[in-house]
Symmetry: C2
Amino acid sequence: MSLVDERQLRVLRELGELGSVTAAAEALRVTPSAISQQLRLLQRSVPVPLTEREGRRLVLTPAGRALADAAIEVETALARARHSVEEFLGRADGRVSVAAFHSAAAAFWPHLVRALSAPGSPRLAFADEDVAQDDFPPLTREYDIVLAHRLDHAAPWPRTVSVTALLHEPLDVALPAGHPLTAKPRLSPRDVADEPWITVHDGFPLMATIEAIAAAADRRLHLAHRINEFAVVAQVVAAGAGIALMPRWTARPHVGVALRPLVGVNARRHIDALHRPERAARTAVRTVLTELRSAAAAISSQAPGDTEPRS
Amino acid sequence: MSLVDERQLRVLRELGELGSVTAAAEALRVTPSAISQQLRLLQRSVPVPLTEREGRRLVLTPAGRALADAAIEVETALARARHSVEEFLGRADGRVSVAAFHSAAAAFWPHLVRALSAPGSPRLAFADEDVAQDDFPPLTREYDIVLAHRLDHAAPWPRTVSVTALLHEPLDVALPAGHPLTAKPRLSPRDVADEPWITVHDGFPLMATIEAIAAAADRRLHLAHRINEFAVVAQVVAAGAGIALMPRWTARPHVGVALRPLVGVNARRHIDALHRPERAARTAVRTVLTELRSAAAAISSQAPGDTEPRS
DNA sequence: AGTGAATATGTAGCAGTACTACAATGTCCC
DNA sequence: GGGACATTGTAGTACTGCTACATATTCACT
């Protein structure tokens, strides 16, 4: 019985529905002999007759009809399997996993939640991932979409991932409220080179800008603290432990911290959505990408005084 | 996509569950190379990657997982199909069609209905078929069980059908109440040869006994009427239109009709259940056959004064 | 850093299977 | 009884899935 296969079941079913070997053969585009042989093969696995002669035609016995009915289920399941990939790709409400580093997560995810809460929208699965720049692309193996950042002049993303540009965000200098430098509307590398710095850990994107400031000022900076998380950085800056680079749009404003634009070095970061090219074959993933772009537009224009043209 | 077959889906599913080509190969008792080739073949039909490398192992992508899930349904349906014949054979409550000629139907079917009314019993499908003797065996093509009758010396049933003997029923002479012959406890062919006869149509089983009476009495009988249905015969006999042969047990008694045993010719008929041998592979069919046998025992002993040994 | 074990993939050849073409057998209908 | 129709059997062919073996890649351990 275990060598009953789909082909034989299909033949049996056609015979049952069409009522003759010849008709089944035409339907399956083979010779009647092929049908006859498949039936003989199938019969070998079953101890009761599945077919019987009726005059010169061949028809199913009740046992044959029982098996032919089961064959319908097999074909249904196979058809469903054959369409399951398209279904998977086409589902509007599929699960979409989105990873992001902290500041992008805080800025983008609330937008996504609001925009995609209606039934029929993609179901979101968030995960925060604060990793060094090189480690963003590999995350696309695990997540459908990865929000990543890199500095203007850093190495571009590898070509194995697709990139959707979201923000080109200025990095400002964060000063404690009341610090003397807050008097200046914009700061040069020389202005800030002697202050104690709070920076990200080595390997993280913003570090390159810190190094650019040191180079432009021709000084060795004093790296007092290494803190990745901007919410913590803001607290420590406000407490007067040093100054820091902070993103203009995606970090939550802090009353004890003033932001001043930096001139003389290119202090900007790209925030991009990375994904493997084939993941965008899914409708749900494309929906989230579209929503991310419109969230980016909202984010970059949310503080009118701070938008790029005027910085 | 249409060349996705069960084998490829099975391979994909094993890969998904076991997590490596080698493990899937062991599970399916083939070499890893075979697995790899089947996966390549499957991938050819699908426009998005189903698998991806993870270190030195191979794992499913989300699309692959979607297809593997569908593969489970396919295997389930196939397993069900492979067991559907046993299920069909083993079901206690399967449908069993029973054909019978009129007097057997009237005598046996009420027993069957009473005995097999509990839930879980075979579901009965009755059909009355009053045919000539030669036409009983072919009815086994259409019905699971056929109640048929034949006379003692008639040709036996062909060996293509299985026979379950039910009754060996005496045929008595039916006389109008008050007819002079009712005075005799038993009748010889000579006693009845000059009466007007009511017989079945030519070709029907009882006809041979009529001819035997004529031969034994060396007379030509007067065949006044040809009526197959015993209920009608009884009415006409009671009305005085003639005498007739009637089965002792399976014809309903009629107040205007007296039955007298016939001696000197072998006047008995066999009532048998005929079926194709393979139909008895079904539990439900065997249940009905058993019930028919016990019904036969009840019928032949229901009128104690008329049982065979005393006739 | 290097080496060996583990894993997957490619290639060639082999074996089993499903098909076609054709012949034979059986059935229906006039 | 003859001709058309239908199924089955037989021999040969094409295809497909497998094994064996070689190769490439990754991992773990020293």
